[in-house]
Amino acid sequence: MVMGEPRGAASGEGAHASLFVGTQQDWKREFNPCIQCGMCGGACPLAFAMDHTPRRAIYLAKEGLLDRVLHTNMLWLCVSCYNCTARCPTGLKITDILFPALRDAAINAGLQLPGEFKKALDNTYRYGNSLGEGPRKRTEWTKGAGVPVPVASQLRRPFDVLWLVECYPSYHPRNQGQAQAMARILRAVGVDFAILGPEEHCVGDCERLAGEKGLFESLVEYNASLLDKYEFGEIITSDPHAFNSLTRVYPALGKTYPVKHYVQFLAERLDTLKPLLTHRVEARITYHDNCCLGRMCGLYGPPRDLLRAIPGVTLVEMPFARENALCCGGGGGGMWLDTVIWQAAGERLSDRRIGHALATGAGILAVSCPFETSRFEDSLKSTGNDGKMVVRDILELLDESIRGRGGAVA
């Protein structure tokens, strides 16, 4: 067990034997150990806006009163921050099982789903990405990378590293720069890598936590057969959510791959990377621990090691850091539930979190998840703090240190 891994984390055997609970028996088996202490509701950053806390929802569902929960707002207010899971003294998988099960039940009961949420699921089923972009456009970002980005289907040979770019870095205009930075860094440290290109589909972490069981299973089937086609040493990904599902959930379904998030992969290559970091980035930087890498997988050191390796950087910590970090609000379908959450809570979690970052006096908020750049940039504007801080992915900061600001591609 890695340090900081919550008791509910699924590293042990049979951890995800049941991904979804459907029958009354399943509910009892899964949640009978609940001691109704209320720690989950206390730990949840959005429980104040929920009609029922997780504790009450567990109690009602166990008693066969699921209907009383399904028609409330509580099942749409979870953003999979894993705080409840990390704090639960009984080790119940509240994030991974309770909320997906409630949403699965709502979807199957034919309840009207929030519009953006439904659209994202429709898009993922049809196009393999929640943004509703065409598969052909998945490699558009590579044109601006300035370095060759090989596509596995065209490489026709085994390669060392398969890079799962994932959906937001492939398509979202704010995140494409991060993908381009990552391509340049991988080139610079001499990695033999390839991407899947138009064949790539979402890994499905948010679809799983959104409770779309069939969609997640079909994504797992698709991805497993696609990965079988190629011969590679290991997988790296630019998305902590993909990392979360690939390390913790795919194995429970019999699909085990050697996989690393880029912060691990690059931190392991600091000896090669550090001499390349020649341009100074004079800044006070604070790092936001995202929930998947942090609370769920205990990766607190590697992102900080990378930031400290950049000359000129002074790393400062937020009071709520590491396992106490507040979520940005984008996980587990949160990216598609902003309207619902804002209506219920009057804020997005990123609005609250940006306050923590600003309080450090740092000039840069560093992140390592593609959802976070646009969420925090939006929050700087919506909280009236535009211009007081910039949000940069660690990849962008490393790239800047290698090339200089706006520097030529090596």
């Binding site: 199957n108 009207q112 789903l113 439904k118 065409g134 052909r136 779309e212 069981k213 069939g214 079909s218």
Partner: protein, 254 residues
């Protein structure tokens, strides 16, 4: 009540459309077809009528593009039967589609025929109106609600300019749906997959609708940008004065 819902596939605009070497048709190499959005609303409207009053809902689609996917997904949503219409050339025009649907409907005797309007490829007419003409049935198009009242239907029809009309229609009739009163329901992927395993589509082979009028496309081309825009520069006040001068010059203000 027997309700027939007609589904049409239209080019999916998620990928850039390209014109093929002939210069008169779309390049289908990368193009995918998708269910026309208003047809999805026509199905939702039919399912809402079924939920409220009970009805048998039969969905029909011409066999091209991803018609099978649309038919199975309709069954998963609650349609009772699905018919795939074969024997036609790929992606026929709307006139030929109307002829084909008429033939396929001949044995079904539906009380109500629902299909979408304003498909993105309806340059040679609306299937709904054409079909009503061929079948000699009453037709109301561009509806946002269809309700069953005393053996007839009452529809809310939209007109341009924010006007609407409530129209009572005797059955059988063809209704061209713009939108259902509620968004199309979500169908879980597991249910679509299950439906594919447990249900079958009926095949209805029809003679090619050769007699149907059709358009001959002489040239297909992308919109050609024209340089007619004039950019106004200066401070906000200057720009405002220039706008007033231009409007006055054209006789739009005094």
């Amino acid at each position: 009540m027997n309700i027939a819902v007609l589904l049409n596939m239209v080019p999916d605009l998620v990928e850039e459309l390209e014109i093929d070497a002939s210069g008169t048709a779309l390049d289908t190499q990368w193009m995918r077809y998708v269910l026309s959005e208003s047809d999805e609303h026509a199905l939702e409207q039919a399912l809402m009528l079924k939920d409220r009053h009970g009805a048998k809902v039969t969905v029909l689609a011409l066999d091209y593009g991803e018609a099978e996917e649309a038919l199975f997904s309709s069954l998963a949503k609650g349609a009772d039967e699905a018919i795939k219409i074969t024997g036609l050339a790929a992606a026929p025009g709307k006139q030929a589609a109307a002829v084909a649907f008429k033939e396929a409907l001949a044995t079904l005797a539906p009380d109500l025929i629902l299909t979408g309007v304003f498909a993105i490829d309806d340059h040679d007419g609306h299937t709904a109106g054409l079909l009503a003409g061929l079948m000699d049935l009453p037709f109301v198009g561009v509806t946002r609600s269809v309700e069953r009242v005393n053996g007839r239907v009452v529809v809310q029809k939209e007109y341009p300019g924010g006007f609407a009309a409530e129209i009572e229609v005797g059955l059988p009739a063809v209704i061209g749906v713009l939108s259902a009163p509620q968004p199309p329901r979500y169908v879980p992927v597991a249910r679509i997959r299950e439906t594919r395993k447990t249900r079958a589509l009926a095949d209805r082979r029809i003679a090619a609708a050769e007699g149907a009028p059709r358009l001959t496309v002489r040239r297909l081309f992308k919109p050609e940008p024209a340089e007619r825009a004039e950019m106004l520069a200066g401070s906000s006040e200057d720009v405002a004065k220039q706008i007033v001068a231009i409007l006055a010059d054209r006789g739009l203000v005094r």
